[in-house]
Assembly symmetry: C3
Homo-oligomer: 421 residues x 3
C-alpha cells in the first residue's frame, strides 16, 4: 500500500518522465535488482512505433465567469492523455466536442487516451459539464513531446529447473489504483518473497517477472523475448485489478486447460469466484495468448476491468483498493506458486497394491467402521491413479481432496519407496 | 413451378418412356447442357440389375354394376408400379387381395411399387373400396416391358478449384409433387444460377449435379463415379421434399460434423427447423453415406419424407407444393453455396495484436462506453481465433456472429495485410 | 447352495487347514480338474509375505458368574482371525479393549482380522457386551501357527481362440455366505457349464478361472501369471457378493469403457441396477486394475460389499443368500458370456446398399405402413454402421436393439454374403 500511495499521483502514460519516476519508486521497493530495457521513441515493431514522451506541463480551462475547471493537483485525468498543446477560446458548443464525461457517474473524471492521433481533449465530471453556461471558454494545455524511451522492467529469479513461471503486470495509467498500481504492488511482493526462496535454493521453477506499458510494451517485449520464453514457460499469470477485498474473477487462457489454468482452478476451489470468458479478456493476456504466441497464461483478479463501475475513472483511487484486498491477492498467488512448485507426476509400478500396513500407511486391525479406513482408502485410490500420466492436481480433482492432503500422502508414499517420480 | 406442372402427369418409374420424356422436359429448362448416361436393361451392379421398361398402356376395373373405378387421366397411381398385364374376372374377396388403400387417408390413392417381383395390383381410395359390393369385377391392365435404358443425368460446372460440391436429386415417382418434382425444380434453379456464375469465373468450387432414379440410379452412378468424386468432394446435399412453405428439417450426414453439415447448421440458424436423425434417412444419402462411400452429404428439406401424411399418395400433388416453398428452398441452398464459397481458414501470424487503429480498424479515441468498441472487440476476438485451424464457420459459431459480418471483417483484415490465407 | 452349506462352517483365513478343506469341498463339485498352486509360508512378493497357518483350536471366555460367552460350534467369528493364544484373567475394563462389537447391529458377531500384527481379540454381539458385569473374566484362546501353504486354484478352459476371459473369486473369510461362498458357488457353476461347451468345441474364447485368498492371493497370483494373462485377456469379472435375489450393482473397471464394461453394461439393460464408483472398489479388482496391471476387469454383484448392513458379520449367513439369488447371478454371467462369445465386427464393403429383397431380407411390396419395414429399416441401419470399427455391442446401443436381435440379423446378412468379418 505504501508503494501505491507513493506512486499514485505520478503522471504515467506509455512514454513519459512520469513512467521513469514510477519505475524508480518501484525499484526502491524491490530486493533484487530490476533489469530495465529502454526502447527509444521511433522504434517500430509490426506497426507498433514507440511514441515520443508525452508530458503534461500545465492545463487550464476558464469559464465565461472566470472559474477554473481543471485542477491538476487533484487529478491528472483532467487532460486526455496524448493531448496536444493548445491555447484558444471556444464557444461552449464547440468546446463540448472536446470534453469527455461519464453521465452514469456524474462525479467521476473519466480516463481518456488518444495515443495514436493528433487531437486535444479535457475530461470533466458530468455534474460540472451539466452546469456550464453559454459563453467563451479559454483552454490552455501545455504538453511536451520530446523523444524519450519506453522503459520495460524484468526480473529473473532462478530455480533448480530451467523451465519458468511468468508473471506480468503493467505501468501506463495515470492516477488510478486498482487498474494500475494494485498489479505492480502484488508483483513486487511476489518478487521479494520468491527472491528470498531462491537464495535458499528452495525454488523448483525459475520465475520471470515483467512490467511495462500495457499492449505496446508487451508487444515490444515479445519482439525481444518470445523465442526464449516460449521454450521454457510452463505457466504464467497477468497481475491486474488485484487490489479490492472482493470475490475473485478467473480469466482463463486462450483455450483453457493449460497448467496455469489447472493450478488456478484448483486454488480457486477455496474461494468464492466467478469465471470470466476469454472473449472478455482485456489486459496483456491479449498478447501472451495471441495465436502465434499462445503461452499458457491466465489471470485471477479481485474485480475485473470493464466490470466495476469505477473502472477507468477518478473513482478508481486509493480509497477503492485496500491493504486487505492486496493481501488477499498476494495470498492467492502464493497458493498458486505453492501448487505449481509441488505438483508432481508419480508412478506406481507395483504389481497390485503395495503392502501399506508394514509401512505404517494402513490400519493393522481391519474391521468395519474403522475411521482410519478413510485415509487408507484415499491412499489406495491415489495409488491407483499413479499411472505416469496423472499429476497431483488431477488427483485432487478426481478424489475431491485438497492439495496439501494429497501432496502429504504422496510424500509419505515416496519416502517409503512405494512410488517413484 | 412451370417445370412441375409440365412434368406432373408424365408416368415415371425406374425405367420407362415416361422417364425419358421427363428428362426432356427437365432439359428444356436448363441453360447448360446435361450429360445423359444411359444404362441398358439387364446391366447388373452388385445385384442391382437395371430392369426392363415398365410402361402402363391402359387400365380398367369395372364393378358388377358396370362402374369404371380407374381413371388414368386423373392419376397414374391407380396401378401398382411394376404390375404385369392382366385381363380377368374376380370375386370381390379375391380382388381385395390385390387392392391397396390407405384407411387413414380415405380419399387418397396410395403410391405402391413392386419393382422386383412379378405381381399386379390396383390402388384405390379407401372411401371407394369401402363401398364395393359383392360380385364379379373385371380387371384389365395392359403394360409393356421391352428392354430400355435407365437414364441418369449429370451436369458439371467448373470452378477455380478442382474440389467439388455435389447436389443430387431423383426422378422415379409417378405423379407426385413434393416427393418427386420439387427436388429437380430446385436442382435446376441452382444449376442455372451457378452456371452463370461459372461463366463469369465467380465460382471457387466446381459443382456436380446428378439426377436419376432413387436408390438403383444412385448405386449405378456410384459404380461409375465413386472413385472420381470421392477424391474431390468437399460437401454434398440431397435435394428432396423441398417444395412446401414450412419450417425446415435437417437430415445430418452419417456421423455429422462434416463441412456439409457445418455449413447447413450455420445457415439454419436463421430459420425455424427441426433436426432429424440419420437413422431416419430415406433418400439417396442412404447410398452417398454408406460406409464404403461415406461422402460428406446431408439434406435440408421443407418437410420430411415419411413424416407428412400426404407422403406417397395422390394428395402429394401440385396443390401441396407452392412457388413460395420452392423459393424458400432455392434461397436456403443459395445461402449454403454462399457460405461454402466464402468459408476460409486465415492465419494471424502477428506477434501479439496487430496495430489496428492505423489501419482504420480500431477507434482512435479510447474511452469506455465507446460503442465502436464492439466492432473492435469482435475484430480482436476473430484475430485470436486465426490459428490456422479455425474456419469462418467456427468463428461465427464461437462468437455468435453472422457469416456475412465475420466474412466482411476478415476481408478487411486480409486487405490490410494483417492476416494471410 | 449345497456347496455353500457344506463349506459354511469350515474355518478359513489366508492360510489354514480350513482353506485346504474348503478347496477340497470345492473340488468335489467341479467337473474339470482344478490346478492347485501352493505357495509356502514365508514366500515374499513385494512385501506380501505368505504367513504361517492360523488355526483356531479352541476358545473360551468365562464371565465372573461362570457363563461361557464363546460358542465355536455356533460361529467361527467369535475369535479375531489372526489372534495369538492366550490364557489369562482380565478385569472387565481391560477385557473390553480386546472385544469387538457392532453397536449398530446388536445381535451380530462382527468379523475382525488382524493378519499382520501380533495381538488377540474376541468378537461378541453388542447385546451381550452391554450386559457384562464388573469382575474377572478368564480368556482362553488356543491357536496354532505352523508353516503351511497358501493354496490358489486355477482352471483353464480352452476355446478356439487363444485370447481369454478371466473370472476370479476368493476364499478367505470364515463362515460368511454372501461375501465369501456366493462367489465360489457361481464360479463353479460357470466352470462346469463352460467345460461342457469346451468339450463340444463351442467356445470362441478360452476361459481362465482363478480362486485364492483375497488381496495377498491375487498379488501372488499376479507375480506368477501377470505376463501371460496380460497378453491374452480380453475381459474379466470378479465374482463376489452374488448370492442375494436383489437389484444388481455394477462396479466398473479402472477407467470404464473396456470390453468387459461394455458387455456388462449391455447385459444390465435388462435388469434393475445401480452403478457404483471405481473409487468404492473393494475386492480383487483392486489388484487386477492396479495401474501397472490395468486389466479390463469389472464386477457385477447382487448387493455390494460395504453397502449392506449384514456385511462382515455373522448375519451374512446361509439364510441371507438364496438359491434364487445364486441363480440370478449365474444367469446374468451366462448372458455376459453369450454376448462376449457372439460380439463381432463385421464390415459392409458394398458400394451403396446391397440388394436385400432378392436375398429375402427386404419386403417385395413397397408401400407405407408396411410393418415389415421396421425390420428392413433396422437392417439398413445396421449395414450403415458396419465400417470395420463398430461391434455388435455398439450397434445395439446406437439403435436401441437387443443383442440377440442384432446378432440374428448380422448372421443372416453374413450367411447371405452381404457382409464380411
Amino acid at each position: 500500500m505504501d508503494f501505491c500511495i507513493q506512486a499514485f499521483q505520478i503522471p504515467r502514460s506509455i512514454v513519459s518522465k512520469g513512467n521513469l519516476d514510477s519505475m524508480s519508486v518501484l525499484e526502491s521497493f524491490l530486493i533484487p535488482k530490476i533489469n530495465f530495457i529502454d526502447i527509444p521513441s521511433g522504434t517500430d515493431f509490426n506497426g507498433w512505433t514507440v511514441p515520443n514522451e508525452w508530458n503534461l506541463v500545465s492545463a487550464s480551462l476558464v469559464s465565461p465567469n472566470g472559474e477554473e475547471l481543471i485542477d491538476l493537483e487533484l487529478s491528472n485525468l483532467y487532460v486526455v492523455v496524448g493531448s496536444q498543446s493548445i491555447d484558444a477560446i471556444f464557444e461552449l458548443q464547440e468546446l463540448l466536442s472536446h470534453i469527455h464525461t461519464r453521465s452514469d457517474l456524474p462525479t467521476a473524471i473519466p480516463y481518456v487516451t488518444s495515443y495514436y492521433s493528433k487531437t486535444w481533449g479535457v475530461c470533466l465530471p458530468y455534474s460540472v459539464v451539466e452546469t456550464l453556461e453559454a459563453g467563451d471558454y479559454r483552454v490552455r494545455i501545455s504538453t511536451t513531446s520530446p523523444p524519450g524511451v519506453m522503459r520495460l522492467g524484468e526480473i529473473f529469479i532462478p530455480g533448480r529447473e530451467d523451465t519458468e513461471v511468468f508473471f506480468s503486470t503493467y505501468f501506463c495509467h495515470p492516477q488510478m489504483a486498482n487498474n494500475e498500481l494494485s498489479g505492480p504492488a502484488v508483483w513486487m511482493s511476489l518478487v521479494n518473497s520468491l527472491w528470498k526462496k531462491s537464495l535458499r535454493n528452495e525454488l523448483r521453477y525459475s520465475y520471470r517477472f515483467y512490467i511495462g506499458p500495457e499492449t505496446i510494451g508487451a508487444i515490444h517485449y515479445l519482439s525481444l523475448r518470445r523465442t526464449e520464453i516460449s521454450k521454457s514457460i510452463v505457466a504464467g499469470y497477468v497481475l491486474t485489478c488485484v487490489g479490492v477485498d472482493s470475490d475473485l474473477v478467473f480469466m482463463p487462457s486462450r483455450y483453457g486447460m493449460t497448467l496455469a489454468d489447472r493450478v488456478a482452478e484448483l486454488a480457486l476451489l477455496n474461494y468464492e469466484f466467478k469465471r470470466s470468458d476469454f472473449l472478455k479478456r482485456g489486459s496483456d493476456e491479449r498478447q501472451w495468448c495471441s495465436p502465434a504466441i499462445n503461452w499458457p497464461v491466465c489471470s485471477v483478479m479481485t474485480n475485473k476491468y470493464h466490470d466495476y463501475p469505477e473502472y477507468h475513472t477518478s473513482l478508481d483511487d486509493l480509497g477503492f483498493i485496500s491493504e486487505a484486498g492486496l493481501s488477499k491477492s498476494i495470498k492467492f498467488y502464493s497458493e498458486i506458486i505453492y501448487i505449481l512448485e509441488r505438483n508432481r507426476i508419480y508412478i506406481n509400478n507395483n504389481v497390485g497394491e503395495p503392502k501399506l500396513d508394514s509401512l505404517g500407511l494402513y490400519p493393522n486391525i481391519n474391521k468395519d467402521g474403522n475411521t482410519s479406513h478413510l485415509e487408507a482408502r484415499n491412499i489406495l485410490n491415489i495409488l491407483n491413479m499413479l499411472d505416469g500420466k496423472t499429476d497431483t492436481i488431477q488427483i485432487c480433482k478426481s478424489l475431491s481432496l485438497n492439495f496439501q492432503e494429497v501432496e502429504s500422502l504422496l510424500g509419505r508414499l515416496h519416502a517409503a519407496g512405494v512410488i517413484t517420480l
